[in-house]
């Protein structure tokens, strides 16, 4: 069984639940209190996919108002990106497209998974509306609190990473 390591960055505006997603994915727990990430927190989880053990080294980057403010060095050597936004905060929707554009320029070959977190805070009927408001494809609507689609998000990125050339 081959074993590979990939650096993944988890990014997005502040208070969208990035640290909670990591906490759910790596430690299967949810923290109720809002914890600010000052810079970056790095966690690791190994995912078995077929004949490959993928060590996902996830850089949970402290949220900023825009991606431009994040130190350049955090992007170095990144193989994949998970971009998180908060579905219960429509005020942030208009920033998403610019952020994704910035990330694509920064890391042109890294696959990007876009997720709307905190789906437990909105009516299920509004998800399609949110999808149309955001204007770019959304891979999953997740809930770190309930664990909905959290695993799927990371697995989808892992699959993209092990099949990349």
């Amino acid at each position: 069984m081959r074993s590979i390591s990939k650096k993944i960055i988890l990014t997005g505006s502040f208070c969208v639940g990035k640290t909670s997603l990591i906490s759910r994915f790596v430690y299967q727990r949810f923290l109720l209190n809002y914890q600010t990430t000052m810079g970056v927190r790095i966690d690791k989880k190994t995912v078995a996919l077929g004949d490959t053990n993928l060590n996902m080294i996830v850089w949970d980057i402290g949220g900023e108002q825009t991606q431009v403010r994040i130190p350049d060095s955090y992007y170095l050597g990144s193989s994949g990106i998970i971009y998180v936004f908060d579905v219960s905060r429509p005020v942030g929707f208009k920033d998403i497209e610019n952020d994704i554009h910035f990330l694509r320029q920064r890391l042109p070959y890294a696959p990007i998974i876009v997720i709307g977190n905190k789906r437990d805070l909105v009516d299920e009927n509004h998800l399609d509306e949110i999808r149309s408001l955001v204007g770019i494809p959304i891979d999953f609507f997740t809930s770190a609190k309930d664990g909905i689609y959290v695993e799927d998000t990371f697995i989808k990125l892992a699959q993209l990473l092990i099949h990349e050339p």
Binding site: M38, R41, K44, P71, S73, L76, R89, G92
Partner: protein, 259 residues
């Protein structure tokens, strides 16, 4: 006590220097912040995922280049450190990597509480702005609904008169002009001129007349931006008897017949 010794006394306890090879195997450490085991069989990258993820960058590092990662949160022996990490090649041995860990936990934890407040305030303000936008839109929507309701009420008011009846022609036209000329509807001035030979009271389909004029006038107004619109009403045929008198006579005859 000279400056260098003061610097050593006050700054040294906050920094640790680790020496390792390009595969992240520990060569030496000053152990100031935490102890690293030189005899450990595994590389430091097993203990520090950050090293595993940037290990490939060390090989590409130029002699005078530094990799700087600010505010890295690390858990070591149940302690949380927030430190600035700097990596560079050892000037004395290019196959060795120097890792400087500058512990700024105290300062960053202080800033963390400020940042949390700042973030929450920012979100509250943005929510407030958004709510204000929604309120403005709702007010505009209510206003538009009121206009539509007003127009609908006028139509409802007119609809019982959809059959032929006696109606005040001039008043009806003025009401129509007034409705169409409302500032919120259209700004182009609309003027009415009714020939004095047209009787003020007519027999006919008041609703139908209003509907036709309304459609024509609004269509014209939509394409009129910078001019006035004059509506002139003139008779095209002169009757010997006015319609009103004809009705009177018919009604009178009917009354006689019933007697």
């Amino acid at each position: 006590m000279n400056l260098n010794s003061l610097k050593s006394q006050y700054l040294a306890p906050k920094a640790q220097i680790v020496l390792m090879d390009e595969q992240c195997r520990l060569l030496d450490s000053c152990h100031t912040l935490f102890r690293l085991d030189k005899q450990a069989p595994t590389a430091l990258s097993e203990q520090f995922p950050i090293l595993e993820s940037i290990e490939n960058l060390f090989k590409e590092l130029n002699d005078n280049e530094e990799l700087f990662f600010p505010r890295v949160e690390t858990n070591i022996d149940t302690n949380i450190y927030i430190s600035d990490f700097t990596f560079f090649k050892n000037p004395a041995d290019k196959y060795q990597i120097v890792w400087i860990i500058q512990d700024l936990t105290q300062q960053y934890l202080y800033f963390s509480s400020i940042q949390r407040e700042r973030n929450e305030l920012y979100i509250r303000n943005r929510r407030l702005e958004f709510q204000q936008e929604i309120n403005t839109l709702q007010t505009e929507l209510r206003y538009r609904q009121q206009i539509h309701q007003l127009q609908a009420e006028q139509m409802i008011h007119l609809s019982p008169l959809s059959e032929n009846c006696l109606f005040n022609f001039t008043n009806t036209l003025w009401t129509l002009i007034h409705t169409i000329s409302k500032p919120e509807y259209k700004t182009t001035p609309l003027k009415l001129e009714v020939d004095k030979n047209i009787p003020s009271v007519l027999w006919g389909n008041q609703y139908g007349l209003c509907q036709i004029l309304y459609n024509i006038l609004t269509a014209i107004l939509c394409n009129t931006k910078h001019s006035e619109l004059h509506l002139k009403v003139r008779p095209i045929q002169t009757y010997r008897k006015s319609i009103l008198s004809a009705i009177y006579h018919r009604g009178y005859r009917r009354s006689l017949a019933q007697l």
